[in-house]
């Protein structure tokens, strides 16, 4: 069982990019250019870490492997869409990650005591909802890409293309507010800032348009879900049950 515990700890540690970014920002005083204090910035990146822990998705890789290995076939003849299995796996892993994320946060506060804050209950609940919506958007985006396995067999290559805008525009490396205003205006039309930037700003207490952000998250879910259903229905007609 030891290997499982180590694996779970590694999952949690693997999401510490926001802390590296915080270090780069504060050491170079980059936050001064966007008028955010060190404390608010560290709260933002800790929140980004939390949001990332509970919204990270890898369904495209799981589905691609299962397709190639022929494991999708038995799932397809069960009265449940196989993506529900992957969805349940992600939720189960999020629950497993939770204590490790708390431990990392505990150590973060020890080294940054000035960053300690307790969000009010309403904001906390909205942040949880927003993080879950972020997870849903990412899950749907990756599910749409995963369905391309029915045509290309290597859908993860397409996912890697999406990873670049996700990395830069989601707020994982820098808060979206730090982008030039002409760039920001179109970034907010994409789903990316609603993956990390919006929920992280909400949780950390930074200024953000709460209702606008939540509406955009729901809107993207309404766009992506029918798209997923359509591509799934077309893809299964192309399925050749390779590997089985």
């Amino acid at each position: 069982m030891l290997e499982y515990r180590v694996e779970i700890a590694l999952w949690a540690i693997s999401g510490i990019i926001p802390f590296f970014m915080l270090n780069i920002w504060t050491n170079n005083n980059l936050n001064e250019s966007i008028n955010i204090s060190d404390t608010l910035l560290s709260r933002y990146f800790l929140s980004a870490f939390f949001v990332r822990q509970f919204s990270v998705v890898w369904v495209v890789f799981s589905f691609e492997e299962d397709s190639i290995m022929g494991k999708v076939s038995p799932y397809l003849i069960q009265p449940l869409n196989p993506f529900f299995r992957y969805f349940a796996q992600h939720l189960a892993e999020q629950i497993t990650r939770f204590p490790f994320a708390l431990i990392i946060a505990f150590f973060f506060f020890i080294f940054n005591p000035e960053s300690i804050w307790i969000p009010n209950l309403g904001i906390l609940l909205l942040s949880i909802v927003s993080t879950f919506l972020s997870f849903l958007i990412q899950f749907l985006i990756q599910s749409v890409v995963a369905c391309l396995c029915f045509w290309t067999e290597k859908a993860s290559s397409i996912e890697r293309l999406l990873f670049i805008p996700t990395l830069f525009l989601s707020g994982l490396l820098a808060p979206v507010v730090s982008f030039p205003s002409y760039v920001k205006s179109w970034i907010y039309l994409t789903p990316f800032p609603y993956l990390i930037d919006f929920p992280a700003n909400l949780l950390s207490g930074n200024e953000t348009n709460i209702s606008g952000g939540l509406i955009m998250q729901i809107l993207w879910i309404f766009i992506l879900f029918p798209l997923f259903k359509k591509i799934w229905s077309e893809g299964t007609k192309k399925y050749t049950a390779m590997g089985s």
């Binding site: 022929g70 494991k71 076939s73 003849i77 009265p79 299964t236 007609k237 399925y239 089985s244």
Partner: protein, 331 residues
């Protein structure tokens, strides 16, 4: 009258296959101008299967047996023709259709690798809307039939292939399907495990009147389970009928080993006009056609001093092997 549960008419399936020449030049050519061609793997086949029947699909590798099973259970979409299984179009994968069927593929697993099989059984029970009490009852019944007990609580990765296959079967049957599609279910199993699996399938068919469609390269699976076989050759049906009839047609003779009291008798018998396969001292093997076996034996027993006599069927693998390479059997 027993109803047809599977009805297939003029079914065809084509796949687009791309080909690539070897080497760097071939790779570059393949990248910019991919050559693809449509390959018809199933060619206009029709057949019906009645409720409760066990039907074996025979054919060489790549003949199209598995593709037929995959279309019957709704995994892949047919290119032409129609399929009705239990009153449903399989490919639509309606919930009630899926609750009625199961597909078991040898060496392919649906059990969760790191968890004991019991966890997968309860997961499947939830997927098929079976309550926990009922699921427990079914697991108990099936595990008794399959003779597995402690294995239910050991992680799948620690189980032997035979134990795993039994667990796979239990997972695939927990929703008590009426139609079983089995693609080489005994692949890789040892002789005892194969025999137990066959016994289980016979029992399951008898108790539930389930229809079973089976492919296997082990002739023992076919001969002990299937009265009817469908032979598939290059995507077309070359024979559909009783296994007995096929064997009689393909092998209209029997080998008789006769042990004479003396070598003189054996020599006399050798010169009597029978088709002699071989003779070693007082033992002689002759080949007699099935339709003249009674009269020939009567002549031998009345005219020669016989110590012992053995009637042998030709090896079934040899006989069936002929089916796999020929196109038509007019029976």
């Amino acid at each position: 009258m027993v109803q047809n549960i599977i009805d297939v008419k003029n079914l065809s399936k084509s796949f687009d296959i791309s080909s690539k020449e070897p080497g760097l030049k071939g790779t570059i050519k393949h990248f910019f101008r991919r050559q693809t061609k449509s390959l018809k793997v199933i060619k206009d086949i029709s057949f019906e299967i009645k409720e409760g029947e066990i039907v074996g699909f025979l054919g060489a590798n790549g003949a199209g047996k598995t593709t037929i099973l995959k279309m019957l259970c709704g995994l892949i979409y047919p290119s032409e023709g129609s399929i009705m299984v239990s009153g449903y179009l399989p490919f639509r994968r309606k919930e009630n259709f899926l609750k009625n069927i199961t597909l078991i593929m040898g060496q392919k697993q649906q059990l969760i690798w790191d968890l004991p099989p019991i966890e997968s059984f309860y997961l499947n029970a939830s997927i098929y809307d079976i309550d926990k009490f009922e699921a427990k009852k079914r697991i108990k019944k099936l595990s008794e039939m399959l003779e597995i007990d402690e294995e239910l609580f050991i992680p799948v990765r620690k189980l032997s292939l035979g134990q795993r296959m039994k667990s796979e079967l239990l997972a695939a049957l927990i929703h008590e399907p009426n139609i079983l599609f089995l693609d080489e279910p005994t692949l890789g199993l040892d002789i005892n495990a194969q025999r137990n699996l066959r016994k289980f399938l016979q029992k399951y068919n008898k108790e539930t009147n389930a229809t079973i469609c089976l492919t296997s390269h082990y002739m023992k699976d076919i001969t002990s389970l299937c009265k009817r076989v469908i032979c598939v050759h290059e995507g077309a049906i070359s024979y559909d009928g009783k296994l007995d009839l096929l064997l009689k047609k393909l092998s209209p003779v029997k080998e008789i080993l006769i042990v004479c009291r003396s070598e003189e008798d054996a020599i006399k018998l050798e010169n009597c006009g029978f088709n002699v396969k071989n003779k070693i001292k007082n033992e002689i093997t002759i080949i007699i056609e099935n339709n003249s076996i009674t009269s020939s034996l009567k002549t031998i027993l009345n005219n020669f001093d016989i110590e012992d006599l053995f009637i042998n069927e030709p090896p079934i693998d040899e006989v069936i092997g002929k089916v796999l390479i020929k196109k038509d059997y007019d029976i």
